[in-house]
Amino acid sequence: MIRIVAIMIVLMWWSQSQAHAQGLDFRGTLSLEMALETEHREIQKADFVFRPELQGEFGSIGNFTLIGMARFDPADALEPGQPDASNDVRSSMNQRFLLGEDIDAELREAYVDFYWDDAFVRIGKQQVVWGQADGLRVLDAVNPLHFREFILGDFEQRRIPTWMVNIEKPIADAVLQFLWIPDKTYNDTPRSGTYSFKQTTVESNTSPDITSVLINKPNRFIKDDDFGVRVNGFYQGWDWSLNYLYVYDDMPVTRQRRGTDRQYDVTQNYERTHLLGGSASNAFGKVTLRLETGWLSDRFVTVENERDWIDVTRVSEISYVVGLDYQVSGDLLLSTQLFQSVLLDTPKDVNRDGTETNLTLLARHDFLNDSAELEALLMMNANDGDGVLQLSFEYAYSDHVLIGVGADVFFGKQEGRFGQFDKADRVTLMFSYGF
């Protein structure tokens, strides 16, 4: 292992000098990210991750960016074995490369940037982030997610970049953004592993008696593509945006019907929805107010019945986040968020509360001239009384080396979104070398 790491560092240095000689900018990070599950004292992950990034210009026309990721995880507990590709949640142009059970790699981002008159155009595989909320998604729904570590880990790494055309055009004092996303990639949820979902609310649920699963995935060009429009601006101290997405929900809707001989037929369909919303933020002295809301036209929720069917019904949903950041001093930030999602016209026997409430509390303290950062983040579901407490400490040992330790502590009842992982608390260790 030490030999491999040494070879990689030499290769990084060589690549960087070669790229520089070609007028390119080559950089990246090599990191070790470990997690130890405290309950069973087992190594949950031992990720050796290489994230290279290459940037360059093509004449005066524009520039390009390539970002890759290669990961070796000998612990193999988050996605045990070779992750099942048969669920086909990723499009053919957005596949991970799997080498054995422990190694995966992917082209994370690959795009070109140029200006067309005064419009900025970015074409390629990319992440687009909307909204003002942290760790809670209302408008941040452009890219699907990878749930390898449930909700743990940075959103930047959890988002699955998709191929799209992204155009931003200034109009008066605002910016109009248009997205065309032909990449039919959806949420990637491991079928087994430490953080595989157990709840019907988030799981692509199956039953032991199921004999066949039919997944209907959109595949028509243009007709099944996703589209988005955003207008954002700044007016009298307020940052504002209006957002619209016409997309397939990234989580499939599961319908289960009893067949013959106690067998079940299951279908999973991706369903269209409209997401209409907006965001706003402003600062008042030491306090920053963040607001975000979205109306989802087609939300499918599970309905209980007496015949062991998993049935669903279509409702609409409105969600919002109110966030307050209080900058106590230059080094200390306190932040809280209230998130609520409300089902409109809640049907009878629906398998979730009509209103779901989540709360977050964050305290972050920088010290040693911002070389060190201590953070505590509490995320709670008020309906079930469960949650997760995340603690982390990071220290920039040098310009190139970042080290960190942390802990993720779940609590609450087993039926809860967070509480289901109560036995999967963990401590983490991180070492990162940037070049």
Partner: protein, 268 residues
Amino acid sequence: MHFQINTPIAIFLALACCTVPPTTSATSGLEVMQQVNARDDGNMIQRRFVLELTNKDGKTKTEKTRSYRRYFGDEKRTVIFYEEPTRVRGTGFLTFDYPDPSVDDDQWLYLPALRKVRRISASDRGDYFLGTDFTYEDIKKEQKVEIDDYTFTDKGMEYLDGRTLHVVEGVPVNEQIEDELGYSRAIWYVDPTIWMSRKTELYDVNGNHAKTITIEVVEVIDGIITATRILATNHKTGHSTRLTFSDVDYQSDVPESLFTQARLRRGL
């Protein structure tokens, strides 16, 4: 074209470029500081700057940035893009600084890890700027001083490092300003040939010697006298920050579109 101010030619140019003549020792402290504030700092500027942050053990971290500043009428907008090291690369900081001191600045921070432009509250002027030993006020004022913040006293002339300098003491006009700035007293050693404080001694609200800011190199760039190397030493922590400017350009156009959230997110 750049000239070192400590060369005879540059001194001549500096004096020739400076429209404000040196004053006599009878000049009041307020007048000296008004001369400092009257110094031309250009309508727009683009430059690189390197931050060398050295802790009390002598260990140094280096951050490289590109920054742009432009006046929109009396409103000053500044944007800073971090380029090095890799862990902060892509970080961007945008400020709208309004002429009315009672109106808070609008500030945004782009963090690549979040992929979001975050609105941040206007920092206290005495808060330290992104881990450096300069406060937001130090960075924002660019070797100038908010006249309304202080009561100035002329402390006469002093001969320092081969130069005769005006010594001016400033005391915050009230406790609120003192708390905001984090200083109970400041002493400026103003060089009348360039109308900059060559050295500034700052005392915290308890009266302790908190910090010294020293201008190490001054150049005349595009006819404008410019401090290109500044050292801030924090006497309480032993930490210091050296700020070195390069590729300073007052003449090239700085597009208005640089001072937008979209550009902050996209980077340069």
